[in-house]
């Protein structure tokens, strides 16, 4: 018998610190899978945001750096400008990317930096204990919206994939989910596509992955997956919002 599914080489063989059922683990594997797939492990530099996924340097078998909260796209810009031939990606949570890092992601996207952005939307600040994220759904209770998110006070859940798709510098913007095997397989394709387009130097590629944070949602892992499907996806529509075909655009 042949091994038909095994751990990607780019993923260090160790236990993660993620909670049971946390799909950060899945997203990590999908990134490692894409890096393996294109055989670029020795050319890859990862940039982590600050959030539950801050430890990417412990889990990935390639070079990595920890950026200040929200600033991963700027750090990645610095790296990519020095090494245009390397594969550079950021891995950021929704607090990191869509709140404190809004300015950096928008302008990095607008400059069309050839980097890939892996964006984990789990509608809360996981690492710090479940506070409201910019993606928190209306009515959702978090530790800082104890009465549920109210748009008059707290604003609206932001749809990043759509917003970034409006920028010229973005080559690819998509939203996928990881709540069941079928969606994971689609997500895998999207992540590969994003890296493929980076290798082709097309501009910034962006993959938003809907993810569950069972711990802070205070539900069991399987209930969390259900919530992704039933509550998140209706608001955060899955799909490709932009996919550019040519390299030199405009």
């Amino acid at each position: 018998m042949k091994k038909v599914f095994s751990r990607p080489k780019s993923l260090v063989d160790c236990q993660t610190h993620f909670c049971p059922g946390c799909t950060h683990g899945t997203a990590h594997r999908l990134v490692a899978d894409a890096i393996d797939h294109f055989g670029v492990r020795e050319k890859t530099i990862g940039v982590s945001g600050v959030g539950c996924a801050v430890f990417i340097y412990d889990y990935f078998a390639f070079d990595a750096i920890e950026a200040p909260h929200g600033r991963a796209p700027a750090v990645a810009t610095g790296i990519k400008r020095v090494h245009p031939d390397k594969i550079v990606f950021t891995y950021q949570g929704d607090g990191d990317l869509a709140s404190i890092g809004t300015s950096e992601i928008i302008h990095t996207a607008n400059r069309g930096e050839s980097i890939t952005v892996i964006f984990i939307n789990n509608t809360v600040y996981g690492m710090t204990g479940g506070q409201m994220a910019p993606t928190t759904l209306l009515g959702q209770k978090t530790t800082t919206t104890p009465y549920g998110r109210n748009f008059r006070n707290d604003g609206y859940p932001i749809r990043m994939a759509e917003m970034l798709a409006t920028l010229e510098g973005v080559a690819y913007s998509t939203r996928v989910s990881m709540h069941n095997a079928k969606e994971v397989l689609k997500a895998k394709k999207a992540v590969r596509k994003a890296f493929e387009m980076q290798i082709a130097d097309m501009g910034l590629t962006f993959v938003e992955l809907l993810s569950a944070c069972h711990t802070n949602w205070r539900v069991k892992p399987l209930e969390g997956q259900k919530r992704v499907e039933e509550e998140m996806i209706p608001y955060f529509t899955l799909g490709v919002f932009k996919e550019r075909k040519e390299k030199d655009f405009l």
Binding site: H17, C19, C52
Partner: protein, 186 residues
């Protein structure tokens, strides 16, 4: 007087609550008290621990590297905290989840308490923390057991009286076990 204890276990075992109650009683008795939990990223690992210091004097550090006592409710906590207990100190271990063979120290007093089993027999293994607390107080006498029981209604104002009485029973049973030192029945 000065006494300190580290309580440790899995998240979900009610460690913080146990520490809370102990601190509250001490406060009600007019003692100085500090309650210091582990916090932040550390918590992600699923462990919980809390240090309570009770003293008649002003309390210096609320964290301590050499506590007079420790309550360990699971095995990882045993490994971490048993070595820290002061010589002649006191260790309460929850034998429902810890193999007593795994303890090493000979220079400390130990109480082997099957807290989960006892709580189970009382109807709810979630009350293992109350059993442990009863035993701990009885053993160390750093606060009044009666007060612990008397304070329950005040501490859980929204819970039904059955909840209160069950927990009182758990505390009492723990204390009983400690005073009788071993055998238990419900």
């Amino acid at each position: 007087m000065y006494y300190d204890v580290i309580m440790a276990g899995f998240g979900g075992q009610g460690i913080m609550l146990m520490a809370d109650i102990l601190a509250l009683i001490a406060m009600k008795e007019g003692k100085n008290v500090t309650w210091m939990p582990s916090y932040g990223v550390e918590m992600r690992g699923g462990t919980a621990n809390c240090t309570v210091v009770v003293s008649s004097e002003e309390i210096g550090s609320p964290v301590t590297g050499y506590p007079y006592s420790a309550i360990v409710m699971n095995e990882p906590s045993l490994l971490k905290y048993e070595p820290m207990v002061r010589p002649k100190g006191f260790l309460l271990l929850n034998t429902s989840l810890i193999d007593p063979e795994k303890t090493n120290r000979k220079d400390i007093d130990k109480l082997l308490l099957p807290a989960n089993e006892m709580a189970q027999r009382l109807g709810n293994s979630q009350m293992a923390n109350m059993v442990a607390m009863g035993a701990f107080i009885e053993k160390t006498k750093i606060v009044s057991l009666d007060l612990a029981i008397k304070l329950l209604p005040e501490m859980f104002p929204n819970r039904p009286s059955s909840f209160i009485s069950n927990n009182s029973r758990a505390i009492e049973k723990g204390a009983e076990f400690a005073s009788k030192g071993g055998d238990f029945s419900v």
